[in-house]
């Protein structure tokens, strides 16, 4: 009550300042929303519009939406995504605990290793799981999708966990709560925003996963994503594809809204701490969790080790022919004279650009979302959902959309090399928001108010209050954005120029050609991609040594 009274008084006195703040907020929001409108909403709306008009050709929307087959596909899409999300959460939470709370020497190694699966091209992971689990269909799809996304859970949840105050938990324990009780009634509620954030992102990635479903599902298990691709590309049924895209959009918005509602109920200010004081050596039962986390890591590494072995095996024993060919020029020139090094450099360059864009957009959006007054939940919810949509929309829809709209931008933007980092940034931005926003929202508003009362400008408040507390999350977000951009395949393969392929695109090209050497080069390129990822994550981790958060 007293607090409300204080705010009311302040509003009365500072009305012009408040209004200016609102305009500044709108200005900040305009940048990410403008980008989203121009490079996402417009192309997608244009291609859907074209498909739905398309001169009466293709499958009518009504037929599409009333067919039992369509609804079976919708059911399977959502079901497998939900199962993979649950699995990724179950596997990711122990890893998040290890990363956030345990002062153990190998923790940094684990942090780097769990991100590796995330960058691997789906075709390679699909083949790896097919080799491990032949003929298992649904199970293999769920496992493979979870395999990709454990990192999302570990990093998103770990980011917030590292900053939550350990003393509340210790107090509960001191008052006689069991370890489990302390976890469920103190820790879990505090982590709910991050967990539901991670779940939303993982769900979207799984619902729109393409290569894995195609390889492991065969024609038996189809999802909206694979069906949209097949209709649009192989059957020229733009109308049917548009109808399915609308369904996909509706399903994604529905899932996001559910997630947002669940999240809002639990959101609260937490007493955030710097990291050093929250990590300590595990004790007693915590070792069980640590062991589970390590088992998860070993399981994640199994398919990866398989890939490395494949890159070294030849018909007559072991060899490094694949690596040699990769470092020269492809034996049969599958990359038109581009070496593996050049492809790696292209990957790094575009990923860097994408990260810059995604961080700019994501941080601006997070600041706006964290500052939107609580009495405007609809506005915040709508903006939040809009930012997440690019993960939930099929790459073929966006790619075709670019083709029919981007020529209206100066210099025929359809063929601009900038489209690749732009598209990658669209996918990475939601992850930045999901990593940074829970932390910003958890910052106690009274700290900001106190700073403002002491005369700090809004920017100063952000720098002195928000930035130190979110510092860790910002670095994590940048690292993650980079890794997402490195591994992005769907949109990239659509937009990349042939003389500048990224590593995942190069791998897919090698593996689609006959001959042993091409095969070895594909796996050698995978190893190279993993090494590059590890190096980049390490470089970003270096910056993290200078941990912010002394307050």
């Amino acid at each position: 009550m007293a607090q409300d009274g204080a705010r009311l008084t302040r509003r009365r006195h500072d009305a012009p300042r408040e209004r200016a703040g609102r305009w500044a907020l709108a200005g900040l929001a305009a940048i990410p929303l403008g980008f989203l409108g121009l490079f996402f909403a417009w192309p997608v709306a244009a291609i859907l519009g074209l498909g739905l008009r398309d001169g009466g050709r293709g499958t009518p929307v009504g037929v599409m939406l009333t067919s039992g087959e369509t609804w079976r596909i919708v059911g399977f899409t959502l079901g497998q995504a939900a199962a993979a999300t649950v699995l990724a959460l179950l596997a990711g939470l122990p890893v998040a605990f290890l990363l956030a709370r345990c002062a153990l020497p190998f923790r940094n190694v684990v942090r780097v290793l769990v991100t590796v699966p995330f960058v691997l091209p789906t075709v390679v992971v699909g083949l790896a799981f097919r080799a491990l689990l032949p003929n298992s269909g649904v199970l293999a799809i769920v496992l493979a999708n979870a395999f990709f996304n454990v990192a999302v859970v570990a990093r998103t949840v770990g980011g917030l966990w590292a900053h939550t105050d350990r003393r509340a938990e210790d107090a509960a324990r001191a008052l006689g709560a069991s370890r489990w009780r302390a976890f469920t009634s103190v820790v879990l509620p505090a982590l709910t925003p991050a967990i539901s954030s991670a779940a939303a992102v993982v769900f979207l990635f799984c619902a729109t996963s393409f290569g894995v479903v195609l390889i492991l599902g065969g024609a038996r298990y189809r999802t909206l994503e694979t069906e949209i691709y097949l209709r649009a590309v192989n059957l020229f049924d733009l109308r049917g594809a548009a109808a399915l895209s609308l369904l996909q959009l509706a399903a994604v918005i529905g899932a996001l809204t559910l997630g947002a509602v669940a999240r809002r109920r639990r959101e609260s200010a937490l007493a955030l701490r710097g990291r050093a004081e929250t990590a300590r050596r595990p004790q007693g039962g915590e070792w069980v969790v640590v062991t589970i986390a390590l088992v998860v890591v070993v399981l994640l590494l199994t398919p990866i080790a398989g890939l490395v072995l494949r890159s070294l095996s030849t018909v007559d024993g072991w060899g490094i022919a694949g690596y040699q060919a990769l470092l020269g020029v492809g034996a049969r020139d599958a990359l038109s004279g581009v070496t593996g090094f050049a492809a790696a450099a292209n990957s790094l360059r575009t990923a860097f650009d994408a990260t810059l864009i995604a961080m700019t957009l994501g941080v601006l959006a997070s600041v706006v979302l964290s500052r939107l007054p609580r009495r405007r939940p609809l506005l915040a919810g709508a903006m939040d959902t809009a930012l997440m949509l690019p993960i939930g929309v099929s790459a073929v829809t966006l790619g075709f959309g670019y083709l029919i709209t981007m020529d209206a931008l100066p210099g025929d933007f359809r063929t601009s090399p900038l489209l690749v980092p732009f598209a990658q940034a669209l996918v990475a931005t939601p992850l930045v928001v999901r990593t940074v926003l829970p932390v910003l929202r958890a910052v106690d508003e009274r700290l900001r108010q106190a700073a403002a009362t002491l005369g700090a400008s809004p920017f100063r408040v952000w720098r002195e209050v928000d930035l130190p507390m979110a510092g860790r999350a910002l670095l994590a977000a940048a690292g993650f954005a980079y890794v997402i951009a490195l591994g992005e395949f769907g949109a990239t393969s659509f937009l990349v120029r042939p003389e500048a392929p990224t590593l995942p695109v190069a791998i897919a090209r090698f593996i689609s050609r006959p001959g042993e050497l091409n095969n070895q080069m594909a796996y050698a390129a995978c190893t190279m991609l993993m090494v590059v990822t590890v190096l980049v994550v390490l470089a970003i981790e270096r910056a993290r040594v200078a941990e912010v958060g002394e307050f």
Partner: protein, 357 residues
């Protein structure tokens, strides 16, 4: 206060150092890489699929000869290429296209993607493969037949006779040996389905597939899985000795001068890849030069080794290793493009019902 400053300075320093390291590593600019050399130069843009490969010295020669740069832009597989050409026909992303194949030709022709042009060299072979109703607009550049491939050593080890025809595959002795790709998701899979339709007719092909199913045929979504993982003749050393692939694939599996695999020439389906001048290009002359270039003897000599396809010109010889490992099938099956366009979706649906039940 003083202490705080020092700390934040070192912090900034370290973050800056790491950033600099990443920057150097990436050699970054937001404009994404090295500036295009000579971007002011006149150029003609060839839009094509991912598998297109042309030797640099030929591209350079084209530039010297015609005074324009030949720029290549790849747009995915043949299906996506055709779609993108159709979507952008009013304002094409290039001047000339290569890679629309016989399965997709009628769609491109119906959409009015191409304008008439017949190359002077078209009579030296390419015209034999011209699509019905599009002879004036599309020029055949190469032929890439889809055939069953087998692993002869698998049969030799077991002293079993190799299969030779589509009929053989339904025999009990070839049980659980065949792996095919899904015609809905894979272009060789579609070609193989068309081969069975050409042979057994629209009314008979489902009966044939029923027999294949009873005989343990395995279906994968893509060529990559079937060939790399399930086929015993490729590097993956899978369990099955018969796979749907290309007539040219054995040329890639030569070891110590001997092919390890073999295409069954009686099971092939003809696929032709075409080039044509795009309808709304502003560089008609240059675009025509590109079509001439694609069927010139110099370029045609490279297509076998570079793209695993057979030249459309008659006067171009295949490489020696190909003549032994991967000769061109002489009587492949073929269905008219128009018929494929009309039947395709229905056939694939019938196939799905038959094979997946």
């Amino acid at each position: 206060m003083r202490r705080h400053q020092t700390r934040s300075q070192t912090r900034a320093g370290r973050v800056g150092l790491a950033l600099a390291a990443v920057l150097t590593l990436a050699g970054c600019t937001l404009v994404g890489g090295p500036a295009e050399p000579g971007s002011g130069e006149r150029k003609v843009v060839l839009v094509t699929h991912d598998s297109f490969v042309a030797p640099q010295e030929l591209l350079d020669r084209f530039r010297r000869q015609h005074g324009v740069k030949l720029e290549v832009r790849k747009l995915g597989d043949a299906g996506r290429l055709t779609n993108e050409l159709a979507l952008t026909k009013a304002n094409p992303v290039g001047d000339v296209a290569f890679g629309v194949d016989s399965t997709f030709a009628s769609r491109a022709l119906d959409e009015g993607v191409f304008q008439p042009y017949r190359s002077p060299d078209a009579d030296k072979g390419p015209q034999r493969h011209a699509p019905e109703g599009g002879q004036d607009r599309l020029t055949a550049v190469d032929v890439g037949d889809v055939c069953l491939n087998i692993d002869p050593s698998w049969y030799a080890e077991r002293s079993l006779p190799e299969p030779a025809s589509l009929d053989d595959l339904t025999q009990p002795q070839y049980r659980d040996q065949l792996v095919v790709t899904d015609p809905a998701t894979s272009s060789p899979g579609l070609a193989f389905l068309l081969a069975t339709i050409a042979k057994y007719g629209e009314d008979g092909f489902t009966a044939y597939w029923n027999k294949l199913r009873a005989n343990g045929v395995k279906v994968t979504s893509g060529w990559e899985e079937a060939y790399n993982q399930d086929f015993s003749g490729a590097a993956g050393k899978g369990p099955r000795p018969i796979v749907v692939s290309y007539a040219s694939s054995p040329a890639a599996e030569v070891q110590d001068g001997k092919p390890r695999t073999k295409a069954l020439l009686g099971t092939c389906y003809r696929q032709v890849e075409y080039a044509g001048v795009l309808a709304n290009t502003r560089n008609v002359e240059e675009a025509r030069n590109v079509v001439d270039f694609l069927i010139s003897a110099e370029f045609q000599e490279t297509v076998a080794e570079a793209m695993y396809v057979y030249p459309a010109r008659e006067d171009v010889a295949l490489p020696e290793s190909w003549r032994r490992a991967a000769p061109l099938p002489d009587k492949p099956a073929f269905l008219p493009a128009e018929k494929v366009k009309d039947g395709r979706e229905r056939w694939v649906e019938q196939w799905r019902k038959t094979v997946h039940g």
